[in-house]
Symmetry: C2
Subunit: 403 residues, 2 copies
């Protein structure tokens, strides 16, 4: 975790889980495989916090030092547990392997610790609670691989923490908003959430999508829920149908819900997004119920061949044009016999832009029984961001067409 | 950064930059907007490290406490710099706004600090070097938004650090490997990299792709480069053509290089990957030179309609079959008049699996003048992972066909 390569996702998961228990995370430390440094970090944490969670460093190699370091910081001994050694040997034997001696260190228990069995790996977790540094502490050691860490937290740690800490009630709500700028959203909703000083509001922005997270703590679950519902409700009233999701569902899921609710089917013809829209729609399990398929038409010839766009229309207006977007949507709808047809054509860049048709210019079309709607946008950013924006715009147009 | 939402990318960037200067990162702390906690973290860091970099908390709000906290930890004063106040006022005036009083705190300089101008935002950075806590330190304050932080680091910090620290030479190499299991790769290459104890090796695994990072430090650039080249060369000899990239290029880029080198074109027909293969191919700028387009054929009718798969073949063998994969590849190649045609059909799950055709079963086909190759695989994992595996397999088959 001290290399430039690995993104820290474990601590985000743990923060979410701890917050749900009413526990606030006030400090995260990332320290290397170095005994005195881990000991110092553990001592500092003991002084600072009531609950300490150590993740990683429980494996069989020389670099795995968390057990030794925590024992030293607490001033207690490590003791090898013969029962864990036996279970480790069994685990190896069941695979037809002989256990190498270095594995036995995974059976070293910090004095006073309870073993937390690890169903997904060799290194068990450990749980301690008691007086350390003159104060009551809870101390947890978890393995580093995310699937092991998560399973152990859910099966072994959650209930132990809940039993020890005063009940606190946390309620959360997430609203998602499409195709409005972050500064515009903030300007419109900040007068609202500022009135709710007891609700914590976080705004996260991606390409074309904004998430508003609300969290409230109170003495009862009902009171906490009421506060997040109040602020979320006021924000919804302000942003109206730009809010596509009230409980954290993705735009892809919401589009799927609407298509199924309307008993409608979808087909798409994409140029600059190169399959991204189809990929996002089909990322949802069960999307075959409403998504028929589509065409990725990079060459002009294929725009004609697969989506039926007249060659002379491309000649006259250019491949990136309002007319071709509409023809893509109508052509793929006709071809696939779908309820809705979508066409996207634009300049994703970084090359290929002109003064008249700059990088970021995209035309989006949705064809239905009621006719064809075309929307033109100029998106900022690099190729990846422009393609993401364009596919989000198309998903949002589908959603609004079905509402 | 103490919420469950935000991924820490700033520290990865800084780690990479510092490593390139020969500076090792030994500790990262994430602390909330709380004055005593930031002061304690700063004091602890002073005791532990020679170089301290603080990121974030330099803005105009009450929560922005880094300046105050660092000054307190160092035992020095903050002084408001009239020149920075003037520049802030100018910046606001140039946008036609009046500066609100809270902005002035961004002009508070830690005694002895040099201002690091921020071209991309209001909050300037600060640089201090000197004796603190009885020892020579370098202390840097940078703004939190990634584009501001990066520009400031590159323009203002890099050279100042380089001038102060003894020269160290670091060389890196990255090899990428497709479609071999992580444990298999590690078993084959660990005897090699263990012989190079002076080279740091990191192995990262994704769905179907493995990265091997090698880093070496030496007293000259040549010596460092020689060592990473030696270990990378030996690993390449061991893994042969499974290594698709010798300098960190992505599989999508490499496939693009080969297609251009062979003057070849590509068309794809995807079922279970739903456009992901096309999306990955077209994520590369300039891919229109070799990618013609393709079909996303979720429904059986479209497999026939767009990719020319005979309906009776689907009836007889099922949509997920060796025969249909080959027919998709051949059909789309014929339809698009491309050099290579690719077909993918499988069960991405989580639903739709049967005893005979379980979730994870995928057929991949590449059609060319020389005939059609079909590869069957059973991938583990969830829908997202299976789709990623299948698209990587197809990209790797294209690469090998062109080698």
């Amino acid at each position: 975790m001290l290399t430039p390569y690995r993104m820290d996702t474990n601590s985000l998961y743990l923060t979410e889980q701890l917050n749900l228990l009413g526990i606030e995370v006030i400090f995260k430390s990332i320290v290397g495989d170095n005994l005195p440094r881990i000991v110092a970090a553990a001592q500092h944490a003991l002084f600072r916090s009531d609950i300490l969670i150590f993740v990683g460093g429980l494996g069989p190699t020389e670099d795995d030092l968390t057990r030794e370091a925590v024992a030293e910081a607490l001033g207690v001994k490590l003791q090898r547990d013969p029962e864990i050694v036996r279970l480790l040997e069994e685990r190896f034997a069941s695979r037809g392997w002989k256990m190498t001696p270095n594995n036995a260190k995974q059976a070293d228990l910090i004095e006073g610790a309870t073993v937390l069995p690890n169903a997904n790996g060799t290194a068990p977790g450990q749980w301690l609670s008691g007086q350390f540094d003159g104060r009551e502490h809870m101390i947890v050691l978890l393995p580093g691989p995310p699937h092991e860490m998560r399973a152990l937290f859910e099966n072994e740690v959650q209930e132990r923490l809940r039993a020890k800490i005063p009940p606190a009630f946390l309620a959360t709500r997430t609203l998602r908003v499409a195709m409005l700028g972050e500064s515009l959203v903030d300007a419109r909703v900040s007068p609202i959430y500022k009135r709710f000083s007891d609700v914590e509001t976080t705004i996260l922005a991606g390409a074309g999508e904004i998430e508003l997270h609300f969290r409230s703590r109170a003495t009862t679950q009902e009171a906490a829920q009421r506060r997040v519902d109040e602020v979320a409700g006021s924000v919804e009233d302000e942003l109206e149908d730009a809010v596509y999701s009230r409980n954290g569902e993705s735009l892809e899921q919401i589009v799927g819900y609407w298509l199924q609710m309307r008993n409608a089917t979808l087909a798409v013809a994409e140029s600059c997004t190169g399959g991204l829209l189809a990929e996002r729609v089909t990322s949802i399990s069960g999307s075959s119920r409403y998504f028929l398929g589509g065409a990725v038409v990079y060459s002009n010839q294929l725009k004609t061949e697969l989506a039926g766009v007249p060659a002379e229309m491309i000649e006259r207006h250019g491949a990136v044009s309002r007319e071709v977007a509409a023809a893509l949507a109508e052509g793929i709808r006709y071809r696939c016999e779908s309820t809705l047809g979508v066409g996207i054509t634009g300049v994703a860049g970084p090359s290929g832009g002109t003064a008249e048709k700059p990088v970021g210019l995209v035309f989006h079309a949705v064809a239905s029984d009621a006719g064809t709607e075309v929307v033109q946008r100029n998106f900022p950013g690099d190729r990846k961001r422009i393609r993401r924006f364009a596919s989000t715009m198309a998903l949002d147009m589908i959603r609004k067409k079905l509402m």
